[in-house]
Symmetry: C2
């Protein structure tokens, strides 16, 4: 059997944009053909975008997806690409009316084969048993006389199943269509797993993944090909379009080494995930600019830097909203940041407005602090309504976990929260990483060193710092990591040597803040367990970890 050139098309579709996604496939099919490929493989559900949630259950949506695949097959044929085999992920429908998460192989103007995903993830962020029926049959497509097995994403995460079904099918290649969301460190897990599956089928494995942001998920791409012996044969970069072309060698010939690129550092990957999540939320929803409050602190500084990297500094409106408790350094640091990233900088003092509220309400203590914070939220929403910028929320995961934030303030309102899944220590890490990256590349550091180094404070009363109310962030974040991300109980935390009073305080804060988290905007998941649909807990609950 002769060698076969294949291409993996790592693309960024948009959920629901069926016509646009089909056009994206058509464009990349042309590119693959131009590169001499006989087979081009696209990611999971590229035709519909992913995840489509309950759209999968709508008859009108199902019809539109089916029509788009048929039209795409005809269009490719009409384009003179009838000999190219194009493998796409889409929404299929069973006779019974139940939808499938489906891969379809198009050639010669027709769908020549399809495969329905067997294993439907129904944990973490996934609800696939809610919307899809399970497939049962394996799928092998012949291309140029070579035998290509096809499976979808979760199918390779389960022992047995369709990989085992095709293990003795004498495959030349196993193609895996994926919509695998980013989380830090997941790339290593994926590639280890892929090597194991390649060995099981005795053939190279081609892993093609979506990239781009979709609400609270970011798909990182990082498509790759590994050999049956585990050799790293080719890979695409993360967080970008790519067409990865590779030659499947003649039968029994040694594997060909294709193009290999280095992985970015974990810090860079997490940063790029935040940039991608924000940019796609903004652009796919029809906005072009964002607005946020700049306090001079680290959270708003990092958020603004991410926004500038996502959209360009000129599309970031930063508003300093000083009160009588705001320090000079806060105002200076906010202005400095805006200048560094080239933001549209404004100053809106809040004293006169707060005075007007207080003339009627005479609030004191925390109520007075919250009032100041909410006045800032109203100002941002007002400018947003006037000028059309999307409001973004700079709150971080430590705040969201403990409820240490005023609901409806400038830190928690808006459409998207880029730092939502970054705890405070990670926020500092990424700020330092971003500045170091700038230095390395001969650019201006976007984040004022002051914002990184000063003690964090909400500046809602004189001399206030976060550590008046919370344990030191390095300790807090360790406890949160164990309790939230690893779902350890109180007993396990105490056994690890954490102080009992700290543990009880943190657990109580986390449990009581669920109602605030429910009203928080979406933000990109970058850890193994993000707040939101990854961690579903009742608001009303008297459960307390006390034994």
């Amino acid at each position: 059997m002769p060698a076969l050139r294949i291409a993996l098309a790592q693309v960024n579709p948009c959920v629901g944009d069926i016509a646009g996604n089909a056009a994206l496939v058509r464009d990349h099919a042309h590119a693959a053909a131009a590169a001499g490929a006989a087979l081009v493989v696209f990611p999971e559900m590229v035709i519909t975008g992913y995840p489509i949630e309950d759209l999968a259950l709508r008859a009108s949506f199902q019809r539109a997806a089916a029509r788009a695949v048929d039209t795409l097959a005809s269009d490719l044929e009409a384009d003179g690409l009838g000999d190219l085999t194009v493998m796409v992920g889409t929404l299929g429908v069973a006779q019974s009316g139940r939808p499938f998460n489906q891969a379809a192989a198009l050639r010669g103007g027709q769908v020549i084969a399809h495969y329905n995903k067997h294993h439907l993830p129904n944990y973490g962020v996934f609800d696939e048993r809610r919307i899809f029926a399970s497939g049962e049959d394996p799928c092998v497509v012949e291309v140029g006389g070579r035998r290509i097995g096809v499976v979808i994403c979760e199918d390779i995460w389960v022992d047995g199943g369709p990989v085992e079904q095709v293990a003795s099918a004498n495959l030349d290649l196993l193609a895996v269509l994926n919509g695998s969301p980013f989380e830090e460190g997941k790339g290593r897990v994926r590639t280890d797993l892929a090597r194991r599956r390649a060995s099981e089928v005795g053939a190279p494995l081609a892993y093609v993944n979506l990239w781009g942001g979709q609400d609270d998920l970011v798909f990182d791409g990082h498509s790759f090909i590994v050999g049956a012996d585990g050799a790293w044969l080719a890979n695409a970069p993360g967080f970008d379009d790519a067409l990865l072309v590779w030659d499947l060698p003649e039968a029994d010939a040694p594997a060909t080494q294709g193009e290999v690129v280095d992985f970015a550092s974990d810090d860079q990957q997490v940063y790029l995930a935040c940039v991608t999540g924000l940019r796609d939320y903004v652009l796919k929803n029809g906005f072009s600019s964002v607005i946020l409050g700049l306090s001079g602190g680290i959270d708003s500084a990092l958020t603004a830097a991410i926004a500038a990297d996502a959209l360009g500094g000129a599309n970031v409106v930063g508003v300093s909203m000083p009160s009588s408790f705001s320090s000079e350094h806060s105002k200076d640091d906010a202005a400095d940041l805006a200048k560094r990233i080239g933001a549209d900088y404004r100053v809106e003092p809040i004293a006169a407005i707060v005075d007007a509220f207080q003339g009627q309400l005479a609030l004191e203590g925390v109520a007075e602090e919250n009032l100041q914070a909410r006045v800032r939220g109203v100002i941002l929403m007002g400018i947003s309504n006037r000028e059309g910028h999307l409001v973004i929320a700079p709150g971080n995961k430590s705040e969201l976990a403990t409820g240490y934030a005023t609901i409806y303030d400038a830190g928690s309102i808006g459409g998207y929260a880029p730092l939502k899944d970054l705890d405070k220590t990670r926020v500092w890490d990424l700020a330092r990483w971003r500045n170091a990256y700038a230095t390395t590349h001969g650019e201006v550091e976007p984040i004022p060193v002051n914002s990184i180094e000063k003690p964090p404070s909400a500046e809602l009363r004189p001399g206030q710092v976060d550590q008046d109310s919370l344990p030191p962030y390095d300790l807090l974040d360790e406890v949160l990591d164990a309790y939230v991300e690893h779902a350890e109980g109180r007993a396990e935390l105490l056994a690890r040597g954490f102080d009992e009073a700290v543990v009880d305080r943190v657990l109580q804060l986390v449990d009581r803040a669920e109602w605030k988290r429910r009203q928080y905007p979406p933000g990109p998941k970058v850890t193994a367990l993000a707040f939101g649909r990854d961690r579903r807990l009742p608001i009303t609950s008297r459960w307390r970890e006390l034994s």
Copy 2:
């Protein structure tokens, strides 16, 4: 075989309050024994509360539930109730560590049998395949020589399965433990289904359901017993504690007629669901009073009436926040309502505060309208922070569907939204029903007739009425019912004869408002499809129903 007295304990547990729920079971077991019962059946997951979501996956929670059941068995024995068979729903754990939705039968100080739910609902508001493993075995418990089959909730909604397993087991009774959330009209579906299952097993069926509010669900109770021939043998009222006692007759003797109560009207049931949902959210979360803005309009009036029925008028703080656009009748109607329900009434004009914002921002048009609305939100949050009342949001389902509301205003902030699942026409219906109920019972009508009869207006600019921006509510609500609740597509709506321009306008509004709905407080589900976890759609979506 002699007759056997059984009791169904319709109780209102609290999620996570394992000790409290076990005490509730113990109390009702005493009452059942005092009434001469040999068997008392409690609802699904009464020990843990329901639904517990991801708490089911926590080892510490699993251990606590297991300990509670063992302790309960010993306590009942120690109390002298060792002869009583007590059937409770709880969280079980398999050898593999996977949790079960379990029924346990306690007698003589021990667990004598258990049953693991077979069919795990994973649609609508349910995520049970996420958190539970499926049971496979049937369960028959002997009590006083009689054979009692046990299944849980969804098990009877599926043909075949455990009911078929025990159909030939010569049962004397089928006990069904339920956590079945309320929706309008569901009672009739349940009872028809139960009659069919009773006929299949050839024995009476005893259906015991939870009651009470849990975040966005309300359980309505309405426990009942039907005969193998479909006879209606006994039933408990909805939305209240009940111990339904009934005698299972001697073998081959005719079925005994027990206590039967009338069902409330659909209007009354929906109203009671809203009252129950609000009351339990407030009390189970440790609040005792609520605060809301009173505009003189129908939404805030009905919300306040519900709150007064839930908590007593003295625990309702109503704040009139007139602007320069507020009509005299609005202020009068708000004051009249507060007087009728005995609320703590306050007036906080917003003009001076809006002026302070406008002195800086000079907003116009919709941005200016939104500003006024948000100032009211900040005032309510301020008073809430000062005095500890839970803020409640009076927004209705038509608003939430179309996004015809200012995000973060007094209609959409807070902890709970009692009208969240009532469209505007249903809001009027229920207001009229509540006043008529008052008249029938010789009480003061809570809702001013003016608030019911005047054209709805946000009063954010001179002469504004809702119908400037929206189709007439009766038409709008019909389209929403078809598109949202019945998930019909555009083609189906046009085929039904709706005007194309209206359909396109409404669908666009609904699709674009998803981001606002995500940040809305929870409220009681009372229809077949509520916003929230019942209807999961992406925010970022270019899908438009256009063909």
